[in-house]
């Protein structure tokens, strides 16, 4: 209870605005990418560019919670709450391990042979 309520709600507000803006940014980028092939000049290239933009929007959304944990880490460190800094760092490390795991398993054939059924 020693850390003031004001400090805690300040972090709450920061996270709220980052998550809110980040989601709408990611969503807008995806919407842009989806709208591009429908915008008139249909062709393979506009569809391909559109898909690239959609992928970028998806990447933004996936990175958003990682950024959220990073921001919590920064605030905990600044508040000298080292126990919670360590906890946030651990969560961040596990998330980064996930991306390493994905890259490694994509390079080893057989583990993930995932194809869409048409």
């Amino acid at each position: 209870m020693s850390t003031g309520l004001a400090g805690r709600s300040e972090l709450d507000r920061l996270l709220a605005s980052v998550l809110h803006r980040g989601t709408w940014l990611g969503g807008s980028v995806i919407a842009l990418g989806l709208a591009l092939p429908m915008a008139g000049w249909s062709g393979a290239s506009s569809t391909m560019i559109g898909t690239r933009i959609v992928t970028a929007g998806i990447a933004l959304l996936i990175v958003l919670p990682v950024l959220r944990v990073f921001l919590m880490l920064v605030v905990f460190v600044r508040e000298r709450d080292f126990r919670f800094s360590a906890i946030a760092m651990l969560v961040l490390a596990i998330m980064l391990l996930g991306s390493v795991l994905g890259v490694v398993s994509s390079e080893s054939p057989g583990v993930s042979s995932i194809a869409n059924r048409r």
Binding site: T51, G98, A115
Partner: protein, 291 residues
């Protein structure tokens, strides 16, 4: 021709994900729990592709609806980050197991877990709220300063609550993270009962905190699936966008519904989902027959 097909599937995916996400958000669940069945049963999509696409929508749902909960003081972010150690570890385990376990087995497992959760929720309804308040100053929740309060608009004052049994909560959260990564769901459906029965959080706090945690949990498997190249942008894009829009609607609905009504609605949805999971595990698809 190609453009028309593209536009049609984008519109279909958008409408479906807006609807499921609004419903999911209103129940404090991510839409993935509805997205995967819809994509596999109606969209005839391969389950792994549906799971990977759904994970993105789960993240989008959680992040898109987090702000109102945070601003109204319902989300306990200290509890969230502690439990996220377990959920993200569970998610990584799920990514590793995804290619090994049979989908049929997972449906069975999940149906069982859903039914257990539903019965827990029912049992809690009849419990007397005022239980013996033993003050153990050496438990985890006290050491980590997890106890907090939230503003209750019905009572017009702040309600203080104590957090209990953190180790049990962590164990349950590991399982929730595992299921989240395997089935492409937020596992709010498992996180909320875990927080209700293990941590004994007030239902609005557990809904808000679960919703907050879902994003980080899904991101742990999301980065892995993305790096692996499992996420198809043509499916995941419209589904994620629809989920963002639906989540905003759903969060507004959750604020307006009372705790008791929410709990009852939750039980009904749990049982319905369990029945659907069992049917899928047995290979029976209701959409296959015109019954």
């Amino acid at each position: 021709m190609v453009g028309a097909v593209h536009a049609g599937s984008v519109a279909w995916l958008l409408v479906v994900s807006i609807g499921t996400s609004a419903l999911g958000g209103a129940l404090g669940m991510a839409s993935g729990i509805f997205i995967v069945p819809v994509l596999t049963l109606f969209g005839r999509l391969e389950i792994h592709a549906a799971v990977a696409a759904s994970i993105v929508s789960v993240i989008a749902c959680s992040c898109g609806s987090a702000a109102p909960f945070l601003r109204s003081g319902l989300t306990n972010i200290r509890v969230a980050i502690v439990l996220e150690v377990a959920t993200t570890l569970g998610a990584l385990t799920g990514v590793l197991l995804a290619g090994i376990l049979s989908v049929s087995f997972l449906y069975f497992l999940f149906a069982a877990v859903l039914l257990v959760s539903a019965s827990q929720m029912m049992a809690r309804r009849h419990e007397v709220l005022g239980e013996t308040e033993e003050t153990n100053l050496r438990d985890w929740a006290t050491l980590l300063r997890l106890h907090s309060s939230y503003p209750d608009h019905a009572l017009g004052r702040d309600v203080f609550y104590r957090v209990r049994r953190v180790p049990l909560g962590l164990a349950l959260m590991y399982g929730a993270g595992l299921i989240s990564a395997l089935l492409g769901i937020g596992s709010g459906v498992l996180k909320i009962p875990a927080m209700d029965t293990a941590l004994r959080l007030p239902i609005k706090v557990s809904s808000a905190t679960s919703n907050f945690m879902i994003g980080a949990t899904a991101a742990a498997s999301g980065v892995a699936y993305f790096a692996r190249g499992d996420i198809d942008p043509v499916i995941a894009g419209p589904v994620a966008l629809g989920s963002v829009l639906g989540a905003v609607l759903g969060a507004r609905l959750l604020m307006a519904v009372s705790g008791d009504k929410l709990r009852l609605l939750f039980v009904v949805v749990l049982v319905a989902l369990a029945a659907q999971m069992l049917l899928s595990a047995l290979g029976i698809h209701l959409t296959g027959h015109t019954a």
